[in-house]
Amino acid sequence: MSMKRYDLIIVGAGPSGLSAAIEAARRGLKVVVFDENEKPGGQLFKQIHKFFGSKEHKAKVRGFVIGQQLLQEAAELGVEVVLNATVVGMYMDKEIVVKMGEEVHHFKGDSILIATGAAENMVTFDGWTLPGVIGAGAAQTMMNLHGIKPGSKILMLGSGNVGLVVSYQLLQAGCEVVALVDAAPRVGGYGVHAAKVARCGVPFYLSHTIMKAEGTECVTGVTIAQVDSHFKFIPGTEKHFDVDTICLAVGLSPMSQLLKMAGCEMEDNPRRGGQVPICDEYGETSIKGLFVAGDVSGIEEASSAMIEGRIAGIAAAYYLGYIDKEELDAKYQENQAALAGLRQGMFAPENRGKLVEKTEEGIDVSMNLLEKGFIAEDEIERFPGVTHTKGIHPVIECSQNIPCNPCQDACPKHCIKIGSHITALPAVDENVECVGCGMCVASCSGQAIFLVQEDYEPGYGTVTLPYEFLPLPQKGDKGFGLDRSGKKVCEAEVVQVRTSPAFDHTNLLTIKVPSDMVMKARFYKAE
C-alpha cells in the first residue's frame, strides 16, 4: 500500500511536540504534527498563568502565549500541524493510521516522535461517579478553552501545582473554592501558588481527604475527614461542605499506550507517573528512530517538556543524517544544561515526597506554608526578600528554592539579587533605592512580590499587590485588606491602579492600610 511518508511524524501538538517540530524543521526535516484536539498547544492553551523558570526559557510568559509563539515558529518553518487528527494506532515499520474527518489515512515516518502527554488520575470515594466530580484538568479546559464555569461552589482535592493553579483559576472565573484538601500532610506544589490561593480565603485541609460525595442525581455536598499517617480516617473529624462540584487534582499518568502498542520496551516507574517507555538521553526508545518527549515519558511540567522536545527533534535530525554528531552533541549539552537547571531546587525529582526542612541558604522553611498554605507572620521576616527599608521597597515573599529568576532582571535599579544560581532565594539590596515602578511585582510568576511603603501618610502605609481579578477595582474604592490567610484584617482604600502592557495583564493595586498592617495585608477585597 502506498502512503505518504515524512521524515518526522509527531503525535501531539503540545509543548514538547511543537518544540521538537521546530528543531527538526529548522534542520531541514519534513515534519508533520497530528493532534486529536481542535486546538493545538496541548495543555499550554489552558495555562493562563505566567510560567516559572529562566528568562531564556520563557519564564514569566503566560502558557498560552508560549503556545502561540511555538505555533507561529513551527508554521514559519513549514511544519504541517494537522488538527482533529486522531491517531488510531502505530504499527510495524513506523506506520501510523490517523482518523481525519470521515476517513482514516496511512502515513509512514522515517522517524516518529510520540508526545501524547498525560491523562488525569482518579481516586474513588463513595459517590465518586456522581456528575459534578471532575478532573481539575477538565475544569481548566472548561474555563480556559470553552469559557464555561465548571460549578459555583467547588472543593479541590490535591495540593500539587495543578490543584493550586486550577483553584486560583476557579477563583478568577468567579467560582467559590470552599476548601483545598490533600491527604498528604504537606502542600505538594509551589508555596507561592498556595499562598495566592490562601490569601483569597480558601482554607487548606492537609492530612484530610474526601469520605464521600453527597447527592443522588449530582453532587450537592461533600464530607471530608482527617486521616492518620496510614491514610485511615480519624472518626469525629468529619467536615461537611455544600458544593456542586468536586475537582480532583491527584496526579497524571503518561498516555503511553501507542508506545506499548508499537512494542517499545516499557517500565512501570512510579516516579515518572506510571507506564513509560525505556528511552535514552535523547528520548529514543527501544525502537530505533522512535522518540518520546514530554509527559508521555514521565510526568513533569511544560518547561521541561519543551526542552525534551527540542532534544528529541535534534536527535531525530541526527538519526536521519541531517546534522552531524558535533551539532548533536553541542545542542544536546546546551539543552541538557537547561533541563538540569529546571530539575533542581526543593522540587527536584529526587526530593519528591521528601520534607526539605532548610533552604539552600540554611533558612528554616515555613512549616505554616506547607501545612496551611501561607507563611505565618512569625516566619516571614527570616527570608532575604523581606526588608524594612524606609520609603517604598519590595517585599519578596519567596521562601522556597525553585528554578526561577525573572525578578532579578525586572528591577531597572537592580535591587533584587538572585545571582547565577537560579534556585537561590531573591534578596533585596537595601542600598539601592526602589523607584516603586512595580516591574518586579508584575514579573513574579508566583505573585509573591509586594511593594510596601510604611510611611505613606501619618498612621498609614501602602501595599502594592499583583491583582488578576475582574472587575478591576477603581481608585478611591473602599474595601478590606486580607492577610495571608485570607482573613479580613483592616479597612483598605484603593489609592492607585496600574495596568500596562509591560505588566502583561497583572494589574498593580495599591491599597492604603494602617501602618501596622503593611506587613499583614496581602490581598484586597471590595466591600
Binding site: V88, H105, A119, M122, T124, M261
Partner: protein, 114 residues
C-alpha cells in the same frame, strides 16, 4: 519484587474478607465493583489481563483510561505486591473508539487532505 511472585497460582491469598466499600464502582464503563475485582483475584485471576478478560474491566469505551490505575492498585493490594509489579493490559488499536464506517474508509490518495 517482580511478576515472579505471582507466577505460581497455587499461593494462597487467605480467605476473602468482605470490605465495606466492596460495592463501589471502579470501572465506570462496565460497572465493575471493587468487590468483584477482589473476588476475581481470589478466583485466581492474578494479572491485569486475566482480570480484564474475566470481568471486562477497562474494556469499555474509555478503554481503561480512568480505571486502569485503580484496578491495578486493588489487585496489587489483594496479592500483597507493589502495583509496579503488575504489567498493565496490552494496548491495542484503535487508541480511541472509531465508527466502523470511518475505519472502513481508507483514504485513497493518502495524505490528500493534509
Amino acid at each position: 519484587m517482580t511478576m515472579e511472585n505471582i507466577y505460581d497460582r497455587a499461593i494462597t491469598l487467605g480467605e476473602y474478607v468482605p470490605e465495606p466499600d466492596d460495592d463501589r464502582i471502579i470501572c465506570r464503563c462496565e460497572e465493575i465493583t471493587k468487590g468483584e475485582i477482589r473476588r476475581a483475584v481470589h478466583d485466581g485471576m492474578y494479572t491485569i489481563t486475566e482480570i480484564r478478560r474475566y470481568l471486562r474491566t477497562g474494556m469499555g469505551l474509555c478503554q481503561g483510561q480512568t480505571c486502569a490505575k485503580l484496578v491495578k492498585s486493588i489487585v496489587a493490594r489483594e496479592l500483597e505486591v507493589s502495583p509496579a509489579v503488575l504489567e498493565p493490559a496490552t494496548s491495542r488499536s484503535p487508541m480511541r473508539p472509531i465508527e466502523m464506517k470511518i475505519f472502513a474508509q481508507e483514504a485513497k490518495e493518502v495524505g490528500d487532505n493534509v
